[in-house]
Symmetry: D2
Subunit: 307 residues, 4 copies
């Protein structure tokens, strides 16, 4: 191995006993908003990176894995998604993937942090790729929880692309039984919710399991799935939730490939039929661990991730 570069490293502690460090090639810019501290840096390994409150959020070279995983399974499981709501999603890459679906007529993104949205727009163009200019895309700055409580609109797919709460801030009430029941009312028949659901690493999986159990108590069918994200160093967890059509294991690789051809415009890099089987092919010990979890997240018993 060549000598590690001296200089600036970003360190993340998975637990007090495990840490991962990434070398920064070049620091680009930072800002401190009302809600969080945002930094953009170029890394050797993953290209440009967004770091929120000291945590790797999204990296240029592998964000496609996260965003394709988040968006396409749910949208393809829906018979014909027209109205999509994204909660969070400030970088614009979730919108970018949603807009690849020809059936989508409107993709509304509600993000609380105007400044981070602007910041990403300027410094991370490869994420949004101009999606915010698309006439089918709409951005609303505001608290997603208040929006959900007030709106009378309903959606075919709702995508929760929100940070997992690690303290009592704006995000924690967006991860509760009460909130998921409200979301259910904002789904059309056949509607699906997909949630980015935390780290799926065995060292950090407890919170994901509680979140999965909370979703299981809110929706008829829920399906957890996991994609390994190199810049996170762990398999990342997602949960798709809904009714009768929320049965990802019944979709064969061939069927997924057909759906992609029919309904998606523009190339995918990560997701296809075989990858779909891989995403939902959860190992036995993870399923056992999820099944044993009894705890629920409620407004009065919130949980905080990775403290």
């Amino acid at each position: 191995m060549a000598s590690p570069d001296k200089g600036v490293w970003m360190t993340e502690w998975l637990t007090p006993h495990e840490s991962h460090s990434h070398h920064f090639k070049q620091f680009i810019v930072q800002t401190e908003t009302r809600f969080q501290k945002a930094q953009v840096a170029d890394t050797h390994s993953f290209g440009r990176c967004l770091v929120l409150d000291g945590e790797m959020q999204s990296a240029q070279n592998d964000e496609f894995i996260y965003h394709e995983s988040l968006v396409h399974p749910a949208l393809l499981m829906h018979p014909r998604p027209r109205q999509v709501l994204i909660m969070g999603g400030g970088e614009g890459a979730t919108t970018r993937e949603v807009l690849k679906h020809r059936s989508v007529e409107k993709c509304l993104m509600v993000d609380i942090d105007a400044e981070v949205v602007r910041f990403c727009k300027q410094h991370m163009p490869s994420w949004h790729q101009g999606s915010f200019q698309n006439p089918r895309s709409q951005v609303l700055i505001g608290d997603a929880r208040k929006f959900v409580e007030k709106t009378e609109n309903t959606f075919d797919v709702i995508i929760s692309d929100l940070p997992t709460p690690n303290e009592p801030g704006p995000a924690y009430k967006l991860y509760t039984l009460e909130f998921y029941r409200k979301l259910l009312k904002r789904l059309n028949p056949d509607g699906l919710l997909v949630v980015q659901a935390g780290s799926g690493s065995l060292l950090q999986i407890k919170q994901h399991a509680v979140l999965h159990n909370t979703l299981k108590h809110s929706f008829r069918n829920v399906a957890p799935y996991y994609a390994y994200i190199p810049s996170f160093d762990v398999p990342w967890a997602f949960v798709v939730c809904g009714g009768e059509n929320c049965r990802p294991l019944e979709l064969s690789p061939k069927r997924i490939d057909t759906l992609i051809r029919e309904r998606i415009k523009g190339p995918l890099s990560f997701y296809d039929g075989l990858c779909h089987a891989g995403l939902f092919g959860t190992p036995k010990h993870i399923r056992k661990l999820l099944n044993k979890e009894k705890r629920l997240i409620t407004n009065h018993h919130p949980i905080y991730f990775y403290k």
Copy 2:
């Protein structure tokens, strides 16, 4: 997060730009053999660990993922494996998994390092679980390459559980086109080879891709697969190789579950039908990367991993 313990950490560099560190709770024992330096320590996160030449080799809490991934797909794809050869595998856990298959009559392990075998036997009992005492198990101390060149025996399944070479040592000629062609001759009709095939992390995948290509030039059918191992922090790669019956994607989860019930005695923790689909559900970008690789490993053009 609680405060990280001061004290002893083990650091692994994936590249000069990425490192992972594990906290050691307690150091247990170490030895320096003719071939390598072996250390055993207890970690907070993964229980007891074996470290060979400064690299995490196997951890008590997740070795089941590695060893079930290595053994069961190949053995279940074979119609009736009786004779099994393990090259390497000193900890005894590969033998342990092989012996769970009722059809296996003889499991021969050939490992070069008698001292490491003894060391693991004494300090890592949860790996072998007494497998070396099983009358169907046989251990031969010696160079697997010389054994393969001299033996006239043939096998139903050969398992390559050898360290990936990172310098011109005893291991590098066990990862070449020439050697794989010799292995092919030691396989019975319907025989399969499965190879632990290095890190599948995008940051380190080059060597795995070259190895995969080398195997593709040696066998009719090859199928790569990946299992995330928490103590390695990456998806680990395997390749199963053979003839007509080497078609893991044609085995449905239901079929795998039936085969497990019929042929395996003793519980599995990681692997079952759904997990099989997950293992072989390789994402699109990884398949593309493997397909583009043109380089071959030969005796005259060896490769070294993770230097």
Copy 3:
């Protein structure tokens, strides 16, 4: 720079914002006593090291700096030290240095941890160099505080070679105003106390300053001094305390060199006349910082170091 070795590193946090890491070449042995966890390892940089409770305690290649600094200034400032008491000092190197003084008739070491004394005796022979066999040396296993409270003996020099307390354990009452007043009564006329007094790094100096102030309230004259210890990565602090003869700045390099020739048998590696001037040549900002400190350590208001 050559590539850093992968493998086992020991990390020490000076503060939550600063860390130092040392590479371990080889782990030797460890034990857990009633009082502490002791580990011995060989490092690349400093030879064999003793680690107590995860903190670098003493390293083969530079312990001479610590032990010569601790012992010789006080013993040479005393007109004729005959009776010496060491509190702590389990490795035996403090005794080794004391015994180099021809005038010393008896060197009594009181250490609480019999097991660590035995452990060091066996695994760290270059520290004690057989000092415990010297007829002028005596070892008593027990609590130094209780010993001081009960003994009716008095000493010419008392050496406090105790760990600085970082929690309410056996050590914290050995660093208080009350205890120092008891020590004063166990000193003969002309007697001196010398205290290892914590890290002198600006990042950690607060506790040292409070300790220095506590000693200033207990003795007529006190003189702080600092020696850089490479394996600690910081200048280490000592305070020598006494009456009229505690005036290290009045001893010229030439005078110290004469005293060494007359009174010390056996070679010194670190300390001589010029070095003495360096030890006590405290920079202006450190003196200012010590002078401003008003806090005192008492039994009811103890302090803990480096938490």
Copy 4:
């Protein structure tokens, strides 16, 4: 200890076996000039920091230690310094300290990197404190070696505040026997040269020892001295060189304090008479190590630091 902040750390390897890490509170700005990469960041421990090519160069909270050590001993040893040359010194703090000497009529700074000078001027005002506006100060952008070769001016004190070369770049010919002999010719009678002379840590001292030996072969009297710089984590080395008046050990603390009162305007934070004794009070083992060094740096046998 409180939990270490996740986030951005700067790591420096002293050797492949030792590393130090500093936490960055906030990144400020960076630039890449023809000669080097410069970054400015705010740290928790040391305030604002300048990082050149990944190495900590200067920190707001302790730069006074470095700059007072570099400037005042040499200037006070000279009977009446009027003309001062600084080679390097881009931050402006060396100029700031020189201008405190009432006798100085002209302080010429020759630095190769116009961009870094501008960069420091803008982002690190507490270093220069407006010194560049002082009518006695003059800045010349250019290669100090070429300047020295061409100028016919002579100086009372020359200060080498240049980076130690770690590769064959513009700096390495500024650290050779040939260059020092040229510098000697640019000194007035009674003139002194002072050189920042690398890390004095035992782990890195080899290069300093060779540099010290090279200076010993170029000047009648040379005196090494060391100041512990917290943000460097090591004692930093300097060497003052000259003729009969280069005898720092003959200046008593009292004499230094008198000289400071008479000749320096403005407060010093680190340096005074007692501190002077500390700076030059080199321990015995360091002196021994310097005396044994026989190697010389020449244009044909350069050395590189900390590779």
